[in-house]
Amino acid sequence: MTPRIIAANLDVRLRSFYRQKSAMFFTFAFPVILVLVFGTIFTTPDHLNLDLSVQDLSRTASSTRLIDALTANETFRITQVAADVDATQYAREQKKNLVLVIPANFDAPPNHPLGQGGVAGAVPLTYVYDPSSTSVTTKIHLLDMVVAAANQTATGVPPRFKLVPASILPERYRFIEFFVPGIIAMAIMTSCLSNALNMNAELRQKGILRKLSTTPNTRADWLVSSILYQLILSAISTAAILLVSYAVFDVRLHIGAWLPLIVVVEVIAFAGIGMLLTPFAKEAESASAVANAFLFPMMFLSGTFFPVEMMPAFLQSFAKLLPLYYVNEALRAAMIFADDPATLRSVGVTAAFAAVAFAAGTFKTRWDEGT
């Protein structure tokens, strides 16, 4: 292995990369755009539509109090529905997923509990809802809580129990904090695999390999320069993702010694997998297809965009066979929870993957085209 040759290879690879704008885009800009788009969609607080249509057939002081309670603390945004329309028809036509109907006999005698039935003598408050809407469940819960509070006020009985939240996560843990480590892992995996496959296909297809094998350039030189090249790209892409996440979403993540270590292990793992996949990607055209066939399932099943726990059990077991799952686990354990033992466990599994894939890849790849 010769440092001079490794430096020369690295120089040529970085220049080629810099001059290929589409590769630049997919390596650096694409993950950043993903962070911006998904971060904006899932971290904006009022993404839940809290509109509530109310048909007040009672029009009394008590019904006004209830409506005030519903709007207090900006719980609901109320739209009044005229008394002469059918609530169900209104909900259908106006595409409202929840319409509350306050009955004409709402102004019941004091100390008479409110409610939708079940309690004897309770005044029924009907809500018309669209069960196909995903946000309606949350809204019904909120509505329930407001009604319960109103019941309490009406009956004067103080609460017996109180729920106190205690999160397993540090403060202000939001979707974005979950998402950023996943995107870092995904960006590194994508760039490692597709660059390795494309470069190899190009070298092979164009016969550059034949020329290189008549120079002092050895397979080890080429391999080391490829790893260094991937590390540089990964470092830049990780820095870009973190910068944007901090600047735009003010994320709270732990950036420590684990992060660079995980990046190095991931690069080696996917460089190895790249080498193992090269026999299936002999031409530059098929290289990206092979890369995608491998990348997409990995991306969706390893918990990049959503927690693996959301998937059915058999898919969860499958996810645990994928190296990206452990990279995600390691990055989240380190960056969100600062949980060293958990990080170490996942890094260990990733490192084992990396060692096996890299050794197998090195063994399988022939520097010489034919012997």
Binding site: R4, I5, G207, I208, P216
Partner: protein
């Protein structure tokens, strides 16, 4: 050092791919400082042999030495002292001519005079052009320049002019003549017989994995070629009879011309004088000297597709 007086020694080289014998027990030597042309139809074992000498492939049996060094054992040393233009040379798409040459110079760890190399190969105008913007001829010339960065003692040029237009081909030939003048040993494989005839000191012809002829181009033609061919345009039967009476064996060709195999200029003069004496009009004529192409076609078979030849094997 053994065989130090020879640049390349190939001794009983065999290369098999399973049951297929690509190179079948061949031996030859290349003198230092000569241009050695290695000819053969596609699939004859030409590229396989060349790539074994270049240390890209390994022999099944036999011994090959380059500058006295065994290709199987001393690859690292050999590689530093040879320069290779592989078949269909290609380089990194987005790297310029100057950067490519600088890259190869760094890989060899030598202080190459990049400007002089670009000058030699007529690439100075294109110094800052990226590889993917270059024409075929420019790419080949860059390949030759890249093969020279380490000032090699032996230069391998594998089909350096294939696919080039006549102008580009002549430019490559000029570069080749320059190499010869500087005392380099040049191992040239080519499909163009005129190229070998023009540039080579020695020509070896390989067919079906065996060397079928090896000598200087002039001697090869002398020994193997048919006689020169005299073509007489549209002559009548009496002239034909006259030529037959002189002891020649004329044949009519499809277009009404007559071809007469002749030994040399004396025969041509005799035929023309005889026709003149008989009062016949002198016809239009053409004399073809025997050439390497005729030798090549005589000694080799038509190309077959069932032999590995080149990188795809």
């Amino acid at each position: 050092m053994p065989n130090a007086e020879h640049a390349i020694v190939v001794d009983r080289l065999c290369k098999r791919y399973g049951a297929l014998v690509a190179v079948d027990d061949i031996s030859f030597k290349v003198e230092k400082g000569e241009v050695f042309a290695f000819l053969g139809p596609n699939g004859a074992g030409k590229s396989v042999t060349t790539e074994i000498i270049e240390t890209i492939r390994t022999p099944t049996s036999g011994k090959v030495t380059v500058l006295g060094l065994d290709v199987g054992k001393r690859k690292t040393e050999i590689v530093r002292r040879i320069g290779v233009l592989p078949q269909n040379f290609s380089s990194f798409d987005r790297i310029t001519v100057r950067e490519s040459l600088r890259y190869y110079a760094r890989v060899f760890g030598c202080k190459a005079d990049i400007d002089a190399l670009m000058d030699l190969t007529n690439l100075t105008d294109k110094a800052d052009a990226q590889f993917n913007t270059l024409s075929g001829g420019l790419k080949q010339r860059l390949g030759i320049a890249a093969a020279l960065v380490n000032d090699p003692e032996v230069v391998f040029l594998d089909e350096p002019t294939t696919g080039l237009d006549p102008h580009a081909r002549r430019q490559v030939w000029d570069v080749l003549k320059g190499l010869k003048k500087r005392g380099k040993t040049v191992f040239l494989t080519t499909h163009y017989l005129e190229e070998a005839e023009l540039l080579a000191d020695t020509v070896a012809i390989i067919s079906r994995g065996r060397i079928v002829a090896i000598d200087s181009p002039a001697r090869l033609t002398e020994q193997n070629a048919e006689k020169a061919q005299l073509t007489l345009e549209s002559i009548d039967a009496s002239a034909l009879g006259l030529i037959r009476k002189m002891g020649f064996v004329p044949t009519r060709t499809g277009d009404g011309n007559v071809q007469v195999p002749v030994a040399g200029a004396e025969d041509v003069r005799a035929i023309l004088e005889e026709m003149h004496r008989a009062g016949l009009a002198l016809p239009g004529l053409d004399v073809r000297k025997p050439n390497l192409e005729a030798v090549f076609l005589k000694l080799t078979d038509a190309p077959s597709d069932d032999r590995p030849d080149g990188g795809e094997a």
